[in-house]
């Protein structure tokens, strides 16, 4: 079931960027399948297309050729409006620099994805509280980003990513701006989300220590993946 119906399936995906008169091919007929419940770390040199891969999976960038399906749903042909609705329901993004709204409290930041749903105010508040509890910040609901450490801000960002219960979490260098201890806390939370809640996670990272938290690591090299199973 899982093998036949992976969470993420890329088939013959090509992606090029044009810079001036020069066209750079990032992916050329790339294939990939990520099973449901997987926790994949994507590593590779700078400019290898790791972030582009995340953007394609998240429906915020478009393929030049090929197909992308997430949870058996083709997204490569969706319109901008359809993609926005699809992202709201299916994807949680976690960014390197947290990307919180600085003028909003932690609770207001976490609530943002729920504004796209039909939930009433009370239900939204309950969900926000639950999400912040999962990341251990139930006591920081009224704090603004500038009143929190980097690790705490990233935990708020994780709460925002999971509050609408998406199938797939896309993390772009989630620990790239954190010290080791905070990074470990964040990665532990991601492991928890994967192990306990069954979230499928694709994490781009440069940090081998961070990659060790994933179930497997995909090395991106010349537009191809080189897979390496992790021991633990």
């Amino acid at each position: 079931m899982t093998a036949e119906h992976p969470m993420v399936r890329l088939t013959g995906v090509s992606k090029r960027f044009t810079k001036g008169k020069e066209t750079i091919s990032i992916f050329d007929h790339l294939d990939l399948a990520i099973p449901r419940g997987d926790f994949v770390a994507v590593m590779g040199p700078s400019g290898s297309g790791k972030t582009t891969l995340l953007n394609l999976l998240g429906g915020i960038d478009r393929v030049d050729a090929g197909e992308i399906a997430v949870a058996d749903h083709r997204i490569d042909g969706l319109s901008e409006g359809e993609l926005a609705a699809w992202r709201a329901a299916n994807i949680g993004f976690i960014f390197q620099f947290y990307n919180l709204m600085p003028m909003l409290t932690a609770a207001q930041n976490v609530e943002l994805p729920l504004l796209l749903t039909k939930l009433r105010s009370k239900e939204r508040a309950e969900r926000v509280h639950t999400a912040l509890s999962v990341v251990g910040l139930a006591d920081r609901v009224k704090h603004r980003p500038r009143e929190m450490s980097g690790g705490q801000q990233q935990r708020v960002a994780i709460a925002r990513a999971i509050v609408s219960d998406p199938n797939l979490l896309l993390c772009d260098e989630p620990t790239g701006d954190l010290d080791r201890q905070s990074a470990d806390e964040i990665l532990s939370i991601l492991q928890l989300l994967n192990g306990e809640l069954g979230k499928t996670i694709v994490m781009v990272t440069h940090d081998p220590a961070a990659a060790n938290y994933a179930k497997r690591v995909l090395h991106l090299d010349k537009g191809r993946f080189v897979e390496r199973e992790l021991a633990a």
Binding site: N55, F93, F95, L112, L116
Partner: protein
């Protein structure tokens, strides 16, 4: 739909709360828009004040009789014989003594000195008939007394006294070769008559060698409807080549010429300044979109649509414009409202008036500010709505 408005409200709130992060640029836009509104409202308040002063002077049951084709009394002449014919005309009200209520008047230009600039200006000296002051609304002597018939005495309008020197009660003034004593100060309900000097008609005629002519005849009618009777009487008598109009319409014509001119100066200047303010607003809002690119892109990545980003950016621009507009209106009110000025009226003499703002004028000023905000915010708002998510996420 509910979700859409929740998105719009959230993005708008985020935008507005983040204005403080761009406070100096936002402040410069607010000030630029406020200046535009100040300039516009100053001109409009001037035109409005002038119009209220002039147009408020006229009554519907007072007829003004001038030489045919004369736009103003300065270039009108009415002979003594014509005055007698008008006295006998239909529709003229009569007093308890049976005399017609009319005032033949001579209007002359004399020199005065402005208190503020010490420069010469034309002042109106009006010789009025016996009924002259009764034929005007709300005329009241506020200091001294009315001039005596047959003497070289004048009474001075309150507004004129405020703006011009040498006309104080008890002083002697020279108009050409003649000398006059100021024996009284009068008010006339803020009307244009407060910008005049009044004396006895026969004395003015005599001292200025105009014995057989006046320039205007003011007559009280039995009612507003009697105007047509008098007109028809004048039109059908070949001895009376005169124009008859109501005092209200006469002053309305006088007021519109000058106030139109003021507005024609004010609007183009304000619009030229508004174009500059639009450029400022565009700069501010493009900077705002650039500064918020990551926030906008993050919201879009989460699933927000482009429309909330559009509305939020436009709301920010409109808010800044509204603040600028209200600030400009408040400043104009504090600086200009009630300020007394004088300018040339239809008779080439100075009319003293107060700048007067009205709620409608303030609304016009704020509307102009909002138009500046709308244009200044529209294109940046479109950019915000169309910002590629990937570009925005890695913008800062």
């Amino acid at each position: 739909m509910r979700s859409l408005w929740l998105q719009v409200a959230a993005v708008t709130a985020i935008n507005l709360k983040s204005i403080s992060q761009r406070r100096w640029l936002s402040l410069s836009t607010v000030i630029a828009i406020a200046l535009v509104v100040i300039v516009l409202l100053a001109f409009l308040a001037m035109a409005n004040g002038f119009q209220r002063t002039i147009a408020g002077s006229g009554a519907d049951d007072i007829a003004i009789v001038l030489r045919a084709g004369s736009q103003a009394e300065i270039n009108s002449t009415v002979s003594r014989d014509q005055v007698r014919l008008i006295e006998d005309g239909p529709g003229i009200a009569r007093g308890s003594d049976g005399k017609p209520l009319i005032s033949p008047e001579l209007y002359l230009v004399v020199d005065g000195i402005k208190r503020t600039t010490k420069t010469k200006a034309n002042l109106p000296l009006r010789g009025i008939g016996e009924q002259g002051s009764e034929l005007r609304k709300d005329v009241r002597i506020t200091a001294g007394r009315m001039f005596n018939r047959g003497s070289n005495e004048v009474v001075v309008g309150k507004a004129l006294l405020r703006e011009f020197e040498g006309l104080d009660l008890g002083s002697t003034v020279s108009f050409g070769a003649t000398r006059w004593t100021v024996v009284g100060v009068f008010e006339a309900g803020g009307s244009v008559f407060e910008s005049e000097i009044w004396a006895d008609l026969s004395v003015v005629q005599s001292l200025f060698n105009r014995n057989n002519i006046v320039q205007i005849v003011r007559a009280r009618l039995t009612g507003p409807a009697a105007l047509n009777e008098l007109k028809s009487y004048s039109d059908n008598d070949p001895r009376l080549k005169l124009d008859v109009k109501s005092e209200a319409s006469y002053f309305a014509e006088q007021a519109s010429q000058t106030s139109d001119l003021i507005q024609k100066l004010g609007w183009p200047l304000a619009i030229a300044m508004a174009l500059g303010a639009v450029a400022g607003a565009l700069n501010t809002m493009y900077s705002s979109v650039a500064a918020r690119a990551t926030e906008i892109a993050t919201l879009r990545a989460i699933g927000f649509g482009g429309f909330p980003a559009f509305v939020g950016t436009l709301a920010e621009s409109l808010l800044l414009a509204a603040i600028g507009g209200l600030l400009g209106a408040a400043a104009t009110y504090l600086i200009f409202d009630g300020v007394t000025a004088s300018t040339l009226g239809g008779n080439f003499t100075q009319v003293v008036f107060d700048f007067k703002l009205s709620p409608w004028l303030i609304a016009e000023g704020v509307m102009l500010a909002l138009i500046v905000g709308l244009i200044g915010g529209l294109f940046p708002a479109l950019r915000a709505a169309r910002l590629p998510i990937v570009e925005g996420l890695y913008a800062n």
